[in-house]
Amino acid sequence: MSGHSTYVPKTGFERWLDSRLPIIRLANDTIITFPTPKNLNYWWTFGGILSMMLGLQIVTGIILAMHYVPHVDYAFNSVERIMRDVNYGWLIRYMHANGASMFFVAVYIHIFRNLYYGSYKAPREVLWILGCVIYLLMMATAFMGYVLPWGQMSFHGAVVITNLLGAFPIVGDAITTLLWGGFAVDEPTLKRFFSLHYLLPFMIAGVVVLHVWALHVVGQNNPTGIEPKSKADTLPFTPFATVKDGFAMSLFLILFATFVFFMPDALGHADNYIPANPLVTPSHIVPEWYFLPFYAILRAVPDKLMGVIAMFGAIICIFALPWLDTSKVKSMRYRPQAKLYFFIFLVVCVILGFCGAKLPDDQVIPGLTTFKLVDSDLNSFVWLSRISTLYYFAYFLVVMPLLGLFEKPLPTPETISSPVLGGEHKD
């Protein structure tokens, strides 16, 4: 893909095929000879882990779809039939449900890795944007998948989220009606969500191909953020990266298996084991954990439309990052101030996640009543979300643009190999 192929067809058949469809060349250049920086650490293994999880979701999903019935009267019981009567159906369903969570664990680590090492900067902007598209598609897929078992949380979560889109002026109602296929979340909604839930993972797979293609044009970033200068800086993908990725995948599967076999419902919500009932609203509707930070941002803003705009804005910031960050130095290893702001950002995202799971008016420090500010006591999750939301946006819109102009980065090494040989080590 990257132009400088070193593949030499060995057999007659390979030569014949290579001049007609150079597919073996493509595979060879992608996963065998592709030069990878020699100093990659374990944070670089999550790309492989993500590919594995996408594959697992597709395989388990296709098997589930053989037994699942997308109909409001049968969906819930068809999932229970899978859990009880289909041979190893419980395994497939638990793998799929927990696999979605693990997929998000991996994607969040992957994204924060990129933030830390500046992997979104030139020449990797397109690669970064393709990654953001994958993340958006994953969110859409997981949201629709969660609706399919048609439990109480499925139904009422779908109602709340689709209603958000109705907040947009002029187009809002048209969009929600189109999503619902009617005037409420009902049979047509479930049918189209199932259809789209089947479709989107294959679109993800398509964008993954583009993502990997872009990766192979620009090459991998590495912990120093210094581009490889010579052959001494890189190693061939196979066997060096394959064996390391394989080891990391195996460790990740241990975590995954622990959830699937020993706490399969820990990440789910009890209410989703109650069949959907439009007339009974659960007292506390929460989305899946991977949406919680955005949900907290949504609820931090008192106005519904502004809340929705803030939530989408939070995602748009991620897309725009390559142009918001003005620093010439990629890796935060050499940006001590940026490192500090980054770790605060990481903590803020986790705090937002907690806020998303709590009731807005609940107290952060139990028993302490301070004073009422605008609409709530200052000691409440809604105010914690507001402060965190402020930081979230400030990180993208203030810190990233200004820091690059004013900070004093540490000296960066000439090549990847020099700091390594010079004895400095991983952080």
């Binding site: 409420a184 076999f261 209410d271």
Partner: protein, 269 residues
């Protein structure tokens, strides 16, 4: 109407949610169930007692639509007997206890010759018959509140079986300021404190075949364990497979790590 409901749902989320959830509920009391933890398994005699409580008490009001008689004889179930297992070329359908329990019920069916509605004795493949023909009938007989299906109850409530065990023992005089209408009862473990289910258990209401003393607590914990099994019938198989998978993955990871070290041995990194 439905649109109103959806709007109401959104409004409730943003405004009413906090108010509803602030009602004080007592946390379920901890129970040391045999099935807890990674090595936990169901206690078969407890499941048998729990099933008896369900059959003789709860089934008068609550359906159990997802469970069939044959499930009682499946591996991990209350009446599993290795004599009637796949290893012997048989299934739970051949288990005499299961057959007898099924035959003891009447199942609504159609006469295959005439098409007339008939009642016939159950077979192991039948699901547990429901006490009421439909939700309206269930409501009408229970003061307007349909008793929920119990198949998944242990997964459908925060606290699971411990919540159920606490709820069944949690009746008492109403807390200060709570007034009860006829048909309402006070229960500190129920959201809001006011429940439409009369205290279903009483000492010696169910006599246990294994001689266990039939206290309310015993009945409550046994039926809670039974409901955990109905909600998660493959738990034992799941944990068992989990150990094989984890052992394999740990060994495999070790092998991969060794390969990694070997492949990278001459590279400084």
């Amino acid at each position: 109407m439905l649109r109103k409901v959806t709007l109401l749902a959104a409004a409730l989320l943003l405004v009413g949610g906090p108010a509803l959830a602030n009602t004080k509920v007592r946390e379920p009391e901890p129970v040391a169930f045999s099935f807890e933890g990674p090595f936990g398994r169901y206690d078969q005699t407890q499941l048998q007692r729990g099933f008896k409580v369900y059959r003789e008490v709860c089934s008068a009001c609550h359906s159990m639509n997802l469970v069939a008689f044959r499930n009682l004889g499946d591996p991990g179930g209350p009446f599993f007997n290795p004599e009637y297992s796949a290893a012997k070329g048989l299934t739970s359908n051949d288990n005499p206890v299961v057959k007898a329990l099924a035959a003891d019920t009447q199942i609504a069916d159609l006469d295959s010759e005439t098409g007339d509605a008939v009642q016939r004795p159950g077979i192991p493949a039948d699901r547990f018959p429901a006490p009421f023909p439909n939700v309206i009938a269930a409501k009408a007989s229970n003061g307007g509140l349909a008793p929920p299906d119990l198949s998944l109850m242990a997964k459908a409530r925060e606290g699971g079986p411990e919540y159920i065990a606490s709820l069944l023992q949690g009746y008492g005089p109403p807390a200060h300021g709570v007034t009860l209408s006829p048909g309402q009862h006070y229960n500190a473990y129920f959201v809001g404190g006011v429940i439409g289910m009369a205290p279903p258990l009483a000492a010696d209401k169910v006599s246990f075949d294994d001689g266990t003393k039939s206290t309310v607590r015993q009945q409550a914990e046994d039926v809670a364990a039974f409901l955990m099994w109905t909600a998660d019938p493959h738990m034992e198989a799941r944990k068992q497979m989990g150990f094989s998978v984890l052992i394999f993955l740990v060994l495999f990871s070790g092998l991969l790590y060794a390969s990694y070290r070997r492949v990278w041995r001459n590279e400084s990194h």
